[in-house]
Subunit: 598 residues, 2 copies
């Protein structure tokens, strides 16, 4: 089936949920008008639907192909990347000064979802390039910015992030690639990096690797990591390409999913290329400050991986819905219709509806959180008032692990239900549902596993400010609950009751976590960090559904009616999961440490 | 890593949980002694570990290969099948009269788990053959039994089930293959069947297809379905093979998982073969009674698919545990150890323990349910007392949808966590964790989707006897809860409290479902049938954990200590999910019917 970008729900969030109007008043975003936004989104939708979505299965079947150090992308990918960048989508969210279009994160989050929903394997290349651009913009020298950013935005070059080494996955303290300072101020870099997304490919003239490495005299651990630019081809001062640098792709991985996206093993300084000994590398910012720069990219990337979770869920939901409307099987439970009338489309069966509504409500809930977080990002960077900027920075940072952790975990459930709705056909690769199930499985792993998001959520986001932001949300939710209770929304009372229980569970979980910390029971806190993160995700989704039910109540469009229904479904059928999570968190003191036997 | 059959937990269930002694007293099972059982299980473990487990990845990589109507099995499969049948494993549970060994279902369930844990794709061939044997034994003529069963048990032939047609997946009323009666009492069969597991392969001389079809004058719907034997090669009266019958494999499916198991499209009566027009078919039992015979096979198969869920979960758990002990990453949270001491095995991290304990406790809980159900099966067939037989038949039938539905749904979670424990390595196919994730995905689909299990669970198993069996279990659970509460098991009070809440949730869910039925609110009942089934699965697991905690309390073996800990983990960290499920079930009256837009 053909994919359609989820413009109805995206625009519902932008317009009816009032996100867009908060950023339209910010300096720099004056041109993001009510007319421009739908035009841009429709243009973007048209592009991804026509140019990228049809390549999704092609890429899955052909895979990226490694041969003799080079990687061939699947049929159509190179042309599609050219079209993508020439149409300006790569430049959308970046600064006008370096060739960008200066759009807010809120709009970029929407186009990013469309990109990944159409073709997640393809989308990783622009996504990594965005992160590379952002790190150079924030931490690079003026020369680096001028030299590297414009070609990264216009599609001539792409960017990568090089963190992982075989012995250093989540634990960057273990990084041991070496960078040796030369007399001319450049460095020579030696080491092996693995899991490098689009670390080698044939879609651009050059690849700009951002690489973590240590200088010889660096302190141990994460405080001794520096960040370097290592271009595949050296770049002359006029921007033209020079010698082939000593970074080579020795293999790519054979993966469960995202087959079209090459996951490269890169070797630096193995005496190949045209530059002599060691890959030529340029320091970004200061020595030993690499980790903080890497976090710039990583926070970008974590948010975007969350968007990928929403995107693949949207795609899986659409396909399951279409199949459920077409597939005839079984008789209707509805007594009004004739049971002898022959088989009905399976969408009429209660459990198929349960699956579809679960898929849709999880997806829409996670989307609402992400677009809300993107708005906070824009407010944190563009608002004129320091206090507002600071407040929104905290909001956005609190939400990033939820966007990453919750959206990707729920995408496993949604893509699994997508297979299930198809029955036996779902297990056949030709159907396509299985691809989403396979592709999604990387999302809770890369850019920091769910446990790492959950530890960040507890440690840096909840404990560090003593629960201030967390409890701010609890207070806001209570206001919405109040409003819902007093509204004339259908089943408002029931929804408010369920929401109320969930808010109580959230507040109690926050207090439990704070309490563990006060008593130095860190193991008790971290043993339930993932349940706590998931609980927060469910409750935040509920909050946005409550607001959505309120704003959509008097509107007669089919989409608004569906939103009302989905809110009711979510509150009564999905949200109750928080009760169990809450009990789990409270019981963490009884969790036994495993006996580790040889 | 190498696979080890889970003999510790299997024997814990057989001996310490007292299952074996219930069946040792039954007539026919006198030889199933305390000495024989471990010897058989160890022999079986040795066989599957050495002969089948190493072929699991081979089969995944090579796939079954179709060419010109024939299917080539992966390297090693043919020899392994010969060894499997020659060692007598295929004959284990079948009647001595036809060449079987007459072992009880309880032991067969254990060896079946070992088989599927070692190699699920391989295991499907013996599993389907078991179903075929059982249907012929129960519904076939004496001649059919004597002709077909012995070669099915000794490995010369294998069996299949042919239900599905392109338009008839779960809905057998739509079957339209035709069988036309001939003057000699045989039939000629025409039609196309899809999704036929091991419908064609090269591991045996002949294949016995059991096929659902309609005679020309059959009534519409499921009451007009008859069951036929259609051998690939006709069988002479002396058992030797005759002409090639008109059943051919036109293709096999390209699937997400179980790559080594050929899933065939079979065409009957396409004027190929050596028998003239139509495939030669032999009626099993009476015309138009095929559905009830098919249910014999299906109930067998459903139980065994549940076992597959437990098996693949066991395999995934073992691999994740081994990886977690080896992989060094991050520092220990434990203040007692030196944080500068370098990275620790990831099993020391609380969230890795949470994942591993979730995997292990879900697996062990489901195993306890399945072995308990197998015992009920044996009591229902072999006990001398009518009342005991009848009671146990109800017990067993009530548990089959739980064994099938719950064990397979939980296997999705367990195999997904298995990938997650491996981090980025989990997404790389070479690691093996991804194969379990892919293989498991068929389990909640074939032999009736989870929704079909759940509808059976509500309709035939809960409503039909007005909740009698369901409430019997509630009463039994309350007794165990009482016993636990008064015991000196560590944290007995906490476990009993959590268990008590879960029993209340179960009872309340049963009453809600009965109430919906009384008020003819079937849609409300079926809208939460899957949550109800899952709730039952969690509570039944908890019951067995409660009993396990009681029987293992004073025993000092490492396994018993782990069981105690796992019981505590399960009660406090997994079981609370039922609270949410219970709320969901109660709220089913608010579930909105979907607006179906074109």
């Amino acid at each position: 089936m053909s994919f359609k970008a989820a413009l109805d729900d995206i625009q519902f969030n932008l317009f009816e949920m009032g996100l867009l109007k908060q950023i339209q008043v910010l300096p720099g975003f004056e041109e993001i008008t009510d007319d421009i936004v739908p035009a841009v989104l429709e243009e973007n939708a048209k592009f991804v639907e026509e140019q990228l979505a049809p390549l999704n299965k092609v890429g899955d079947m052909e895979h990226a192909q490694w041969s003799n150090g080079e990687v061939k992308s699947p049929t159509g990918f190179k042309d599609a990347f050219k079209a993508y960048t020439e149409s300006g989508w790569q430049a959308l969210q970046h600064e006008v000064e370096y060739g960008g279009q200066g759009f807010p994160k809120l709009i970029a989050a929407a186009t990013s979802e469309n990109l990944h929903a159409a073709n997640m394997s393809f989308g990783l290349c622009p996504m990594l390039t965005d992160g590379c651009v952002e790190a150079i913009r924030q931490a690079g020298s003026e020369q680096q910015k001028n030299l590297f950013i414009p070609p990264l935005l216009d599609g001539r070059w792409t960017g990568t992030m090089n963190l992982t080494e075989p012995q250093a996955g989540s634990d960057l303290a273990l990084v041991n690639s070496k960078a040796i300072r030369q007399e001319d101020g450049t460095y020579r870099l030696f080491g092996q990096k693995i899991f490098i997304t689009y670390g080698e490919h044939d879609m651009s003239e050059n690849i700009i690797h951002l690489v973590l490495a240590r200088t010889p005299d660096a302190p141990k651990g994460v405080k001794g990591i520096s960040l370097f630019v290592v271009p595949k081809f050296l770049v002359n001062e006029d921007g033209s390409l020079g010698k082939r640098n000593d970074v080579f792709c020795t293999s790519i991985e054979h993966k469960l999913g995202i087959h079209a996206s090459p996951t490269a093993v890169l070797v630096f300084g193995d005496n190949k290329g045209e530059v002599g000994e060691g890959a030529v590398a340029y320091l970004v910012g200061e020595e030993n400050a690499g980790l903080s720069y890497m976090f710039i990219m990583m926070n970008e990337a974590r948010f975007n991986v969350g968007i990928q979770g929403i995107a693949v869920s949207e795609r899986a939901s659409q396909q399951a819905l279409a199949y459920a409307k077409e597939r005839l099987q079984g008789s209707s439970l509805d007594r009004q219709t004739d049971r002898q009338a022959g088989p009905v489309p399976i969408i009429h069966h209660p459990d198929v509806q349960r699956m579809l509504q679960t898929m849709q409500s999880l997806t829409q809930g996670a989307r609402a959180i992400a677009l809300y977080a993107a708005t906070a990002h824009d407010l944190s960077t563009h608002h004129t008032d320091d206090t507002v900027r600071g407040h929104n920075k905290k909001i956005q940072e609190y939400l990033v692990p939820i966007v990453k952790g919750f959206s990707t975990e729920m995408s496993l459930e949604v893509t699994s239900l997508g297979v299930q709705v198809h029955g036996g056909m779902g297990f056949i690769e030709e159907t396509g549902a299985a691809q989403y199930y396979r592709d999604a499985r990387i999302l809770p792993i890369y850019e920091g596993t769910t446990a790492i998001q959950a530890n960040d959520f507890i440690g840096r986001k909840t404990l560090r400010d003593n629960g201030e932001v967390a409890l701010y949300f609890v207070a806001e939710m209570k206001k919405t609950r109040e409003e819902l209770q007093q509204s004339s929304v259908q089943h408002a009372k029931q929804m408010a009751d369920y929401f109320s229980n969930a808010i109580t569970a959230y507040q109690s979980a926050i207090e439990t976590i704070l309490d563990y910390a006060v008593h130095d029971q860190l193991r008790e806190a971290y043993a339930v960090s993932v349940p706590f993160l998931m609980l927060a995700g469910y409750v935040h989704s509920a909050w946005h559904f409550a607001k959505a039910a309120l704003v959509s109540q008097d509107k007669g469009t089919p989409f608004n009616k569906e939103k009302q229904q989905l809110a009711l479904f979510y509150m009564t059928q999905v949200l109750p999961r928080v009760t169990g999570l809450s009990e789990t968190i409270k019981a963490s003191r009884y969790v036994p440490q495993m006996v580790i036997r040889d």
